[in-house]
Amino acid sequence: MVAMIIQRFIQLIFLLFGISFLVFSSMYIAPGDPASMIGGPTATESDIEAIRENLGLNDSFITQYVRYMGSVVQGDLGYSYQTRQPVSEAIAIRFPNTLKLAVASMIIAVIIGIIAGLISALKHNSWLDMTSTTFALTGISIPNFWLGALLILVFAVNLQWLPVSGLSSPWYTVEGMKELILPAITLGTGAAAMIARMTRSSMLEVVRADYVRTARAKGVKERNVIWIHTLKNAMIPVLTVIGLNFGALLGGTIITEKVFAINGVGRLMIDAIAARDFPMVQGSVLLVATLFVLVNLIVDIVYTYVDPRIKYQ
């Protein structure tokens, strides 16, 4: 297990190198000049030249990349072109919000998804199954930003039950929880639907397994057949979906953070792209990728608890 974790970290390092190169080169190719973004439309040629020189943007691609990676290797993510603030600091401020949002919506997604999937599978082909399937599919089909705007209109503006935006209070307070509800639902709906469908099909599969028949042959109560003999097995593919969905979820924060005015990494990222703030884009992408890898590592570790057949030496 320890070896597996070490191996994953080694892989992660290579992965991050690959990603940083990809980001760096694509930002380099992309039209749009960081200096003119800083200068704004009024800046004169010489203004912009001075800024370019100042940021080292006139160096060759390789020089810039090597310089950047050199500092990254030393643990320094560089300074934002725009704000001249250390990238790590900028990210550190926003990361907790994104994490809160991602975790909250994952929790919502997992709870709703698994329950809906279970109902579907256990009442296979009943109207409950139909309803739950339709619900899940509708969940997938609604564009994120649309759902967000709708929720705001209904619950924040009209009913005034929940705040429109935020994440300004700590999550463990009532206020904080209230602030999280709408964005987490917006973000989690898609994932919930995925998980529901995966749970359903995986349950249907496992219910037919030989060992479930064995359990019945032992006279195990139906309830225990489901909860003890079926569910754990059925969760194995669901776990994978959860892990992979986390990636989509992180991507989804970009939109959700925008709609709900949440100060998160996703928004930092689009703003940075729009402003051609290379170091900031790099830093946030690397963070998101690392997060994704870590979550999947956790999923893999959880596997070993769910499925004893999986052993990492």
Binding site: S46, S165, S168, V259
Partner: protein, 499 residues
């Protein structure tokens, strides 16, 4: 100078007061984007300016109502000769850190602004300056390289605000601004909010608002919802599409002022086809600006004049001086010269009203027989593309923050600036001469005349088609009054009080 195409560049809005803190004298403003930084020297965006305008002060300031330039930190000034500006400063003013405001501070600020090592985005404000000399504690003398007419306008620009030299040397003004303004900096959570508090020692008395919060809300619909829910008390730059929604809110009062920002369609003057006056004429006659204005729900002023009604250099006669809408004439020209054969690329940034203009104009040009395709771009790419002149038609905007016609015509249309701020690539030697004259003349009457000539020249030329001049807007929670909304779109909350 004007900081960035007001409308175009960053949505500038901020200031408001956090619903939760709900306090008496707290105002929360929803800003569409976060400030880049809080040093006037190193920033050049609307969001930052909204804050620095409250924390710092400039030597001069343009009066929002009269559009006259008045002293702010300066007491008075004189011009011993055309190239010399001797400025007397107000006395007894202290920066928020307790250090005194004096001539040294002015010299320090301006030197820093123009030092190439600073790489200040608005270093060009000080471009004409040759030297700055401290005459005595409260007198400073600035020599320009050549006579520079709009110099006072430059000095009234947000980026020419005076910073505390001591503070600038000991801390990062980008994070912890120190000025002489009515509000003091309290805290900044980047991406989230900036908090200012009243400066009790302000020379005109402590502002009524104890606290002003600038909260970042990138989605305008969300900001409006927050206004409705009372989570913020103040937003500005109301989108035309949602005006009716805001108007229907009982707890909100809308303020509108005819403004300086302007939006125009420009052909790419470096393209061969644009050199053909009939082509430009055909375009101008094909565009029904009145129909477009009707889509703006009253948030636009109709005038053909390049120099807008609120900008120095405007004369009423210019209002109707452009080529009028005449579909038949346009059709005839298109028919005659076969303009329809060629596909024209209409470049538009994907923000603000640009898309609206693009869609309407594309349909109108199509009606006239042109073959136009819209290409939208995100802001950064758009800036690059217009700079490189890779388009046939595009929409441009200018916010005229200094409210001076020279500062509109020179960067945008003078041939010196082709390849940088002259994005329409306009190059007309006769026009250039007029603009130069308007800049080097210090007599304001004379300048007005020259600017008007330049304006009419452009209109005759059909160099650009003015779509509209902006009406700047703000919506304030009905329990507050006293907002100073300026035609430039800037605003000031120092006099805002709770009813």
């Amino acid at each position: 100078a004007c900081s960035s195409g007001g409308t175009s560049s960053e949505p500038n809005n901020e200031n408001s007061n956090k619903g939760a803190s709900g306090g008496e004298d707290v105002l929360t403003y929803a800003s569409l984007s976060d400030a880049v930084g809080l040093s006037p020297i190193l920033t050049n965006d609307g969001a930052s300016a909204n804050i620095t305008d409250h924390v710092y002060e400039k030597l001069f300031e343009r009066n929002g109502e009269t559009m006259e330039i008045e002293p702010q930190l300066a007491e008075s000034y004189e011009n011993p000769d055309e190239n010399t500006w001797t400025i007397k400063l107000k006395q007894g003013i202290k920066f928020h850190d307790g250090t005194p405001f004096n001539a040294e501070a002015v010299k320090y600020t301006f030197d820093k602004l123009r030092d190439p090592a600073t790489a200040a985005p608005r270093a060009s404000l000080m471009e004409p300056v040759d030297s700055i000399t401290v005459i005595d504690e409260y007198t400073v003398e600035i020599k320009t390289k050549y006579p520079y007419g709009p110099f006072l306008a430059s000095l009234s620009h947000s980026n020419a605000a005076i910073v505390s030299p001591e503070a600038d040397q000991t801390q990062d003004l980008m994070n912890k601004p120190v000025g002489t303004g009515p509000f003091k900096f309290v805290s900044w959570v980047p991406g989230d909010q900036i908090v200012l508090e009243a400066n009790p020692d302000y020379r005109d008395g402590e502002p009524a608002l104890k606290k002003v919060i600038f909260k970042v809300v990138p989605e305008v619909s969300t900001a409006i919802s927050m206004l409705q829910a009372g989570e913020v008390q103040f937003i500005d730059k109301l989108p035309t599409e949602q005006l009716s929604r805001i108007e229907s809110m009982k707890n909100v009062a809308i303020e509108k002022v005819d403004g300086t920002p302007q939006y125009f369609l420009s052909v790419n003057h470096s393209k061969e086809i644009s050199k053909d006056p009939e082509f430009r004429k055909a375009i101008a006659s094909a565009i029904d600006r009145d129909a477009f204005i009707s889509k703006m729900n009253g948030l636009a002023v109709r005038s053909d004049s390049v120099i807008g009604p609120k900008v120095f250099g405007y004369k009423e006669s210019a209002d109707k001086a452009g080529t009028p809408y005449d579909l038949e004439a346009a059709k005839a020209l298109v028919e005659k010269n076969g303009y329809g054969q060629q596909t024209l690329k209409l470049l538009a940034a994907n923000r603000g009203t640009f898309i609206l203009m693009a869609e309407v104009v594309q349909a109108q040009l199509t009606e006239a027989g042109f073959n136009v395709e819209i290409e939208t771009m995100e802001w950064a790419a758009y800036l690059d593309t217009t700079l490189a002149g890779d388009y046939d038609l595009t929409f441009l905007s200018w916010s005229n923050l200094t409210g001076d016609g020279s500062e509109l015509l020179y960067p945008n249309f003078h041939s010196d600036n082709v390849g940088s701020s002259n994005r329409s690539q306009y190059n007309n030697p006769e026009f250039d001469k007029l603009v130069e004259a308007s800049r080097t003349t210090t007599n304001q009457e004379e300048r007005l005349e020259i600017l008007n000539q330049a304006n009419e020249l452009m209109l005759e030329d059909d160099a650009v088609v003015i779509m509209y001049h902006d009406v700047v807007t703000a919506a304030l929670d009905a329990s507050f009054t006293g907002l100073k909304l300026e035609p430039t779109g800037k605003w000031n909350v120092s006099e805002v009080t709770r009813k």
